[in-house]
């Protein structure tokens, strides 16, 4: 908790000093301090060891099973792991869907979108003018196809 200096009266600091002096424990001697410090350093440098219960507690069979399982997992990983030469090609991300925002079909034209054989490839958008023998033939072809397909 932060106290504002305005919260203290001038005499409070002296009271705190007297209280500190009265309750402060005695400082250890230099030899005591060195002994404690060296012991702490020695403990900190020792490796952490997690001790399992003895074989009698767990059962010898369980210990053997655990070792066998570890060997099997290691063998399986060794057999599956590809060597550098055998490693296959990196997976290829699927390409973005090929799309044309909008196709406006005008009368008298044949619009054809040509897609490539590979996914995501548009080879071209062709707006081919119809070549009618007469004005009335301009829609006759489409009508013929539509009408025929509707009848199937």
């Amino acid at each position: 908790m932060r106290l504002h200096t305005s919260d203290h009266e001038p005499g409070d600091a002296l009271d705190l000093d007297r209280l500190w002096a009265a309750t402060r424990p005695e400082e250890p001697s230099a030899e005591t301090f060195d002994r404690l410090w060296n012991a702490a350093l020695a403990r900190a440098s020792e490796p952490e060891v997690v001790r399992f219960p003895g074989a009698k507690a767990w059962g010898l069979g369980l210990a053997i099973f655990a070792q066998a399982a570890a060997l099997l997992v290691a063998a399986g990983l060794a057999l599956r792991a590809p060597t550098r030469k055998e490693a296959g090609p990196a997976p290829v991300e699927a390409p973005v869907v090929a799309s044309v925002p909008e196709i406006q079909v005008d009368g008298g034209t044949i619009p054809i979108v040509h897609l490539g054989d590979r996914r995501g490839v548009i080879r071209g958008v062709e707006i081919r003018p119809q070549t009618p023998e007469s004005e009335t033939d301009m829609v006759a072809d489409d009508l013929a196809v539509l009408g025929h397909m509707e009848s199937l």
């Binding site: 090929a98 799309s99 909008e102 196709i103 044949i110 619009p111 054809i112 490539g116 025929h148």
Partner: protein, 160 residues
């Protein structure tokens, strides 16, 4: 005109004139149903003079040949569906080999009288190609997909 009559008339006019959103809704609701046809044809390269045409397509063989004037193809009908759609409804046509084509009649007012579709071609459940098609009634839109063996998957879409 007296002031009370003018005020009454203006009030009636404001009440009678629907808001912009309401007008759009009314216009969409008035959009007609369309007879939509979606079909798929397999075009196989053939030596000149040896091309064959599926008997179901014999009546429109000349029109199909016009699509590929520089090459000779045999044509086989894979599937055809013709159905009456309301705006917002769709038709799908399986074409074999995992291909499915679909067309949705869009609920979009068009001042030019065009019919608007959302067209898509799927392969094994993944979309290969998609676009919006705006076309006058009775006019066809085509899409062909090159197949690895030189064949073409020709898809036609039209409405009226």
């Amino acid at each position: 005109m007296s002031r009370p009559a003018l005020i009454t008339g203006l009030a009636l006019l404001l009440l009678a004139a629907p808001g912009r959103d309401v007008r759009a809704q009314m216009l969409a609701q008035d959009m007609p149903a369309r007879q939509v046809t979606l079909f798929g044809i397999l075009a196989t390269p053939a030596a000149p003079g040896t091309a064959t045409v599926d008997p179901k397509l014999s009546k429109i063989a000349p029109q199909l040949r016009k699509l590929y004037p520089d090459a000779s193809y045999s044509f086989k009908l894979l599937n055809s569906k013709s159905t009456r759609l309301m705006p917002g409804q769709a038709v799908t046509t399986p074409l074999g080999g995992g291909f499915v084509s679909g067309a949705e009649l869009l609920n979009v007012p068009d001042n030019d009288g065009n019919i608007q579709f959302r067209f898509a071609l799927d392969l094994d459940g993944r979309t290969e190609f998609a676009t919006i098609v705006k076309t006058p009634p009775n006019q066809l839109f085509f899409c062909d997909k090159a197949l690895p063996n030189g064949q073409k998957l020709l898809i036609g879409l039209g409405g009226r």
